[in-house]
């Protein structure tokens, strides 16, 4: 008996093959992008975008339109509303963001749960990995190609801005522009990834890989590569879990990603060794 049978079993069916491919494509891009999300302190912002896109996502589902469009539109609207609310100095950016996101999530749920709409809210919230279509795979592949190219092209400016913004500006790099491009890439990545993981869980694929490799990789490039690998492996583990334990696929992948982060943090070397390893 081949020892690898249990591992390969899920992938005898087309459904899980596609789920794995989706997770791998998204994971690789988001696992790498996540390094910048965490280092530029965009975690809360990413979560706000992911939750805030819900109404757009729901509207697309109700209208039978491509979910990717709904997610992207929702993310755009969320970004604008959150930015507006966060400007309110009286309540502060955190509270402003909470107001915008709560309103948007409430609106999304309201639209989805109105009695004459098809009940798809759970898929939108927690992902529909096993319902991945060819269109989704194409989008994920495009994301990886274009997003990956963008990350490579922006690598030196991103490093410069992250480690010495003043020096970078002096050298002709424009931090505001770099950050804007990063945010745009983040929004697109989230819009693609929510198809598989859902609005509530997609943050894991962006934040867990960098947390898992933090302290283990000595340069941003290595951290991004390691993050991509961790995301893909965790995705595989999640699908295996989902197949063998019969659990929801998206949630299983999310849990596997969080588990990877916990493991990586637990076995982190002391900060001193990372400093010695240099940039």
């Amino acid at each position: 008996m081949d020892l690898l049978d249990p591992v390969i079993d899920p992938f005898r069916s087309g459904i899980d093959q596609r789920a794995l491919l989706e997770v791998a494509l998204i994971g690789v891009l988001c696992g790498a992008l996540g390094f910048w999300v965490v280092s530029e302190r965009l975690t809360y912002g990413a979560e706000s975008l992911a939750h805030g896109l819900l109404p757009g996502f729901v509207l697309a589902a109700l209208a039978g339109a491509p979910l990717l469009l709904g997610a992207a539109g929702g993310a755009l609207v969320a970004a604008v509303l959150v930015a507006l609310a966060a400007r309110d100095e009286r309540i502060g950016p955190d509270t402003g963001t909470a107001v915008a996101v709560t309103g948007l999530v409430g609106l999304g749920a309201l639209l989805a749960l109105a009695p004459d709409s098809p009940q798809r809210l759970e898929e939108l919230l927690f992902g529909d990995l096993l319902g991945v279509t060819d269109g989704d795979l194409l989008a994920a592949a495009l994301l990886l190609a274009c997003g990956g190219a963008a990350l490579v092209a922006l690598h030196r400016p991103l490093c410069a801005v992250a480690f010495d913004p003043a020096g970078a500006a002096a050298a002709g790099v424009r931090p505001a522009l770099v950050r804007l491009v990063l945010l745009a890439l983040l929004a697109v990545a989230i819009a693609v990834a929510v198809q598989g993981l859902g609005a509530l869980l997609v943050l894991a694929v962006l934040v867990a890989p960098p947390v898992a490799v933090r302290g283990h990789a000595s340069t941003p490039a290595r951290a991004m590569a390691a993050g991509a690998a961790v995301a893909a492996l965790a995705g595989l583990a999640g699908i295996e879990l989902s197949f063998h334990a019969g659990s929801a696929a998206g949630a299983s992948v999310a849990l596997a990603l969080c588990g990877a982060a916990a493991l990586g943090a637990a076995f982190r070397r002391s900060p001193g060794s990372v400093r010695r390893a240099g940039r």
Partner: protein, 268 residues
């Protein structure tokens, strides 16, 4: 369009109405401190963290109130100990919340096969609010009121000038912990009605709107109370009319109120 009087006439709606009035009282008073001390994320996180425990309690017959109370209070203690109250959430917290939601949904759909409970736990319900929920909400409202009266001066001093207040000899850790614990209790009381994901609809949104409108702490609390009560009752009515859980309409009303207030008063 059903008559608003139904809210008072029909027995099951009466309970829901009372629940939302009590939660409005808690949400308005505690909400003022949540907004002034920048605890909006803590409020949301305390709610979401209870999700897996609630799924288990729901399925196993254990008291959901006790299960969620244990988690929420534990989270409050952890946050205070780590000195992270009022600060932007870190990656660990964000991942913890994702894990809680993912774990909860797996438990619900695949372990306990109580998938139907997920919507109710996430967004609340009008039906099935029982005496225990009402008692919890009454306790939350009472504690919120007592806390505001007794500790309002301390809490506002801490929000206004943390270093100076510590220099006065006030044990800021204890004062913070009491506030966090009260918020945790109120969040737990609100979950049956508005759900785990939308507790901020009652505890942050009315007070945020009030903060835009009011210029002193007394008026802020008064405005927050009025807004929370109106939002809660109107949201309940919408939920009854449109056959929805109460959480979403309350949240949408709250956001609209904030948007209206900011347009009138000007964003600053």
């Amino acid at each position: 369009m059903p008559s608003p009087a139904d809210l008072v006439d029909l027995p099951f709606l009466r309970e829901a109405l009372l629940e939302l009035v009590l939660l409005g009282l808690a949400g308005g008073s505690l909400g003022a401190w949540i907004v002034l001390r920048r605890l909006a994320f803590f409020t949301h996180a305390a709610g979401s963290a209870t999700f897996p425990g609630l799924v288990v309690a729901d399925a196993s017959g254990f008291s959901p109130l006790l299960a969620s109370l244990a988690v929420a209070l534990g989270y409050a203690g952890g946050v205070e100990r780590a000195g992270r109250a009022g600060r932007e959430p870190g990656e660990a917290t964000a991942l913890l919340l994702v894990a809680a939601l993912a774990g909860g949904v797996i438990l619900a759909s695949d372990v306990f096969e109580s998938g139907g409970a997920v919507d109710r736990l996430l967004f609340g319900t009008i039906l099935g609010l029982d005496g225990v929920d009402l008692l919890a909400s009454a306790a939350a409202a009472a504690l919120a009121g007592i806390g505001t009266l007794a500790l309002g001066r301390t809490w506002s001093a801490l929000a206004f000038d943390p270093d100076g207040t510590r220099a006065l000899g006030v044990p800021t850790g204890a004062a913070d912990l009491i506030l966090l614990a009260l918020v945790a209790v109120a969040v737990v009381a609100a979950i049956p009605a508005v759900g785990v994901l939308l507790v901020t609809a009652l505890f942050v949104l009315p007070a945020a709107t009030a903060r835009v409108l009011a210029r002193g702490i007394g008026p802020l609390i008064a405005a927050a109370l009025v807004l929370a009560l109106v939002q809660g009752v109107a949201g309940l009515y919408l939920a009854y009319w449109l056959d929805l859980p109460p959480g979403p309409p309350v949240a949408v009303l709250g956001a609209i109120a904030y948007a209206a207030a900011t347009t009138v008063r000007g964003a600053r």
